[in-house]
């Protein structure tokens, strides 16, 4: 324990050295802006910035890349809330409640909640990282295909189990997402599936961001056009020191769900198969399930912004663990980090902790500092971000539209995906008119491929025996929790009825 404290202190001191500290501030600021721009993927951003890292020592370089990665996690929420377009796939769940809050003139409240929750998520996870990295790395190894599948079932359960929504419609929406997720090359045999004849654009499957930007960006704009009939809508947002204090007082309202989201996010992040997007969706689902007022979710509940933001920040720290100890990057951005490490002769693996402690602890120390720096920069910029919403609709709408097209084009650089995005926009608008929840479809397309892969791997390993999912303790526990989550709203309704009958 003492040795950890000593290592951590030296790591934090290392991160506070002038070069390293400047790299952190620079990285966080760039990351924040990169994350906030739907068109500018953090992968391209980081790849283009890689040369900067050759001007400074290796530790400073990795810290810089990590700070960009970290800042981007905060930044993703900004466009989700102000524009309704997820800046990154990790910030999709933030749109669910962030956008309605912004539309009702409470963008500042949502942005502050996102920043504070990100800070809490980041802090909790980096503390968990400091204290339990080696045992958690060992625990993550226990996750084979059956455990991964059980975890995915649990993630789905957090969404089906939501009280209030129309259950058949939720299931229908999940099924649409699963069908879309099946498009592309079969993961076991490599044969193409559902490519509509031979349209090669479908071979790589449906890009998740294309779906999300279509539904939330384009679909939302169509909806706004219909409801306002093109009227100029100016959102009034006033920022003052007093409103800041009021908004900070909100913390009490979401501290519980934020903590839960952080722990779950961190844990899901440490599993190489999952990553920050499922983590944020699960955090959102749980926040809603355990809320005293689940009906207000999706209509502008601050907890609905705080939970996924805590989840994705915690997961982004968590995913450093498999990268450092196993060499498996959890996201394209961490993969670039990995590339940086290889160039400096730092081979990720189980021995990195003991052979290069100064590097590992310098990185961990920098996460503490980066977290603090990013939340301060973010809070300072919020008045600027909020100003975006005061733009007249006639300027804002075309801007959003352009950002959607750029964001749809950027990941694969094909027009195929842009057309697809428009299609999803129209479908998303129609689903909304018909009162179907779209969030479960979004969840399904993220988790579908992960669930399919682990299911098929498990069944190959067990020669087709389904019992493999209940024979292994970790997967059995996940399956049981999933069952409990699905039945929780039913039981709660029953109990409430009895209570009211009794009273």
């Amino acid at each position: 324990m003492e040795s950890i404290v000593a290592l951590l202190v030296s790591g934090i001191l290392e991160a506070m050295q002038p070069t390293n500290f400047i790299m952190i501030v620079l990285g966080c600021t760039i990351g924040l802006l990169v994350g906030a721009m739907p068109g500018l993927g953090s992968v391209n951003g980081v790849a283009i910035l890689l040369p900067i890292t050759f001007l400074v020592p290796p530790t400073a370089a990795i810290i810089f890349l990590a700070a960009i990665y970290y800042g981007a996690m905060y930044g993703g929420a900004i466009s989700s809330i102000t524009l309704g377009i997820p800046g990154a796939s990790t910030a999709v769940a933030t749109v669910f409640d962030g956008r309605p809050l912004a539309q009702s003139g409470k963008a500042d409240r949502a942005l502050i909640a996102a920043a504070i929750a990100s800070f809490i998520g980041g802090t909790i996870s980096v503390i968990l990282f400091t204290l339990f990295a080696p045992p958690l790395a060992a625990f993550a190894l226990k996750f084979g295909p059956p455990e991964e599948f059980a975890l995915m079932v649990l993630a789905f359960a957090t969404f089906i189990g939501l009280g209030g929504d129309d259950i058949p419609k939720t299931i229908f929406s999940i099924l649409i997402g699963l069908v879309l997720a099946a498009i592309g090359l079969d993961i076991i045999s490599g044969q193409p599936r559902l490519i509509f004849g031979d349209i090669s654009g479908f071979l790589h499957g449906i890009n998740f961001l294309v779906l999300a930007i279509g539904i939330y960006g384009i679909g939302e704009m169509l909806w706004t056009l219909e409801t306002t009939k093109g009227d100029v809508t100016v959102h009034k947002v006033r920022m003052s020191a007093r409103s800041l204090m009021n908004n900070l007082r909100d913390i009490r309202q979401y501290i519980g769900t934020t903590t839960l989201g952080s722990v779950i996010g961190y844990f899901v992040g440490t599993l190489p198969a999952a990553g920050a997007t499922p983590a944020s969706l699960m955090a959102y689902g749980l926040a809603k399930t355990f809320s005293r007022d689940p009906d207000s979710f999706g209509k502008g509940n601050v907890s609905g912004v705080a939970a996924p933001e805590a989840g994705n920040n915690a997961a982004s720290t968590g995913s450093m663990l498999p990268m450092i100890t196993l060499g498996i990057p959890g996201s394209p951005t961490t993969a670039i980090l990995l590339g940086g490490m290889i160039i400096w002769g730092l081979r990720p693996g189980p021995l990195l902790f003991s052979e290069h402690p100064d590097f590992v602890w310098g990185l961990i120390g920098s996460l503490y500092i980066a977290n603090l720096v990013t939340v301060l920069i973010n809070l300072a910029f919020i008045p600027v971000f909020v100003k975006v919403l005061t733009l007249p609709f006639t300027i804002l709408a075309p801007t959003i539209y352009i950002l959607c097209v750029v964001g749809g084009y950027a990941p694969t650089q094909t027009m195929h995906d842009v057309w697809l995005m428009f299609l999803f926009g129209i479908v998303g608008y129609l689903l909304r008119k018909l009162n179907y929840p779209v969030a479960p479809a979004v969840l399904a397309i993220v988790l579908g491929p992960l669930a399919e892969r682990s299911l098929r791997q498990s069944l190959l390993a067990s020669q087709g025996e389904m019992s493999i999912f209940v024979e292994r303790p970790i997967s059995a526990v996940c399956m049981f929790l999933a069952l409990a989550l699905v039945s929780y709203p039913v039981i709660r309704k029953f109990l409430n009825k009895r209570r009211s009958n009794g009273g």
């Binding site: 283009i48 190894l141 045999s189 490599g190 071979l203 060499g327 394209p332 390993a461």
Partner: protein, 334 residues
Amino acid sequence: MSTIFNKSGKLMLSAVLAVATAFGVAGTAQAEWSPKKPVELIIMAGTGGGADQIARLLQGLIEKKNLSPRPFIPINKPGGSGAEALRYLQDKSGDDHTVLVTLNSFYTTPIIQDIGVDVTTFTPIGRMALDNFLLWVNTDMSDITDLDSYVATVKAKGKEWKVGGTGSGQEDSILTAMMEAYFGYEVTYIPFPGGGTVAKNLVGNHIDSTVNNPAEQNEFYRAGNTKPLVQFTAERLPAYPDIPTAKELGHPIEYYMQRSINGPPGMSKEAQMWYIDLFETLFNSEEWQTFCVEDGLACESFLKGDELGAYHQTEIAKHKDLIEKVGAAAITGE
């Protein structure tokens, strides 16, 4: 000092530098081509595997040595044992800003699956290395100490024995099928999205054995998590002096994997020449040669352009024979 100045200059004033480079180039060689926009470095496998590590190292070296006026951006397209990447390159016909880092699935995937890609039409650039294969098990398997005890155990377990790999039709599945045919046993092959994930599942005991490249297992071997039993090379690798080759033990199983760089069909001659120069410089760099030694890759000679094209032809013929012999079904596990 001057190179440092150049680099920071490039970052802040990339537009100015582009003009400057254009002038500089015009001054030295008239028809010299160089990238006008970021180059996509397509990896036909998942993150953390051997191909991925190589691509990311190359990307870093290009930046570090300032060898390209535009950055190289690694993109993983692991779908369908590389089918996704091959189709992507085919669709990019005539493009001068996309190159592919290959594995042997470059040969095998089009033979096994009907994906409408003829890789002999691709533009060969350079072969960076030959990668090697070893047979690995978890160190917890104390009963298995050599190839004989391995074969005996696998025969006893039959289909219960789980071999992890990077995809049906990938080189490790071919080598697994070769071993099945030679030793007369059958195992269950489970595909994962990349060599790194395979290694993780071996360390976590979710699979029983794998044929990984040295780069994918080295760190776990050093940490005592996994152990190699046999190498499928002609000679013992310098990095593994105590591990016998299959050939020494009287089993003529030898298999290598080329790590080469190829452009899409119809890449312009000028661009091809530029990439050949670039990758030859990288091949001869100290960093690359050190990487080869540390990671058990063979990097004796750089095959370029048409030499590589001819090499591809013979390898395709070899793999067709091999696949015919063991049967495509044995590889895809159907």
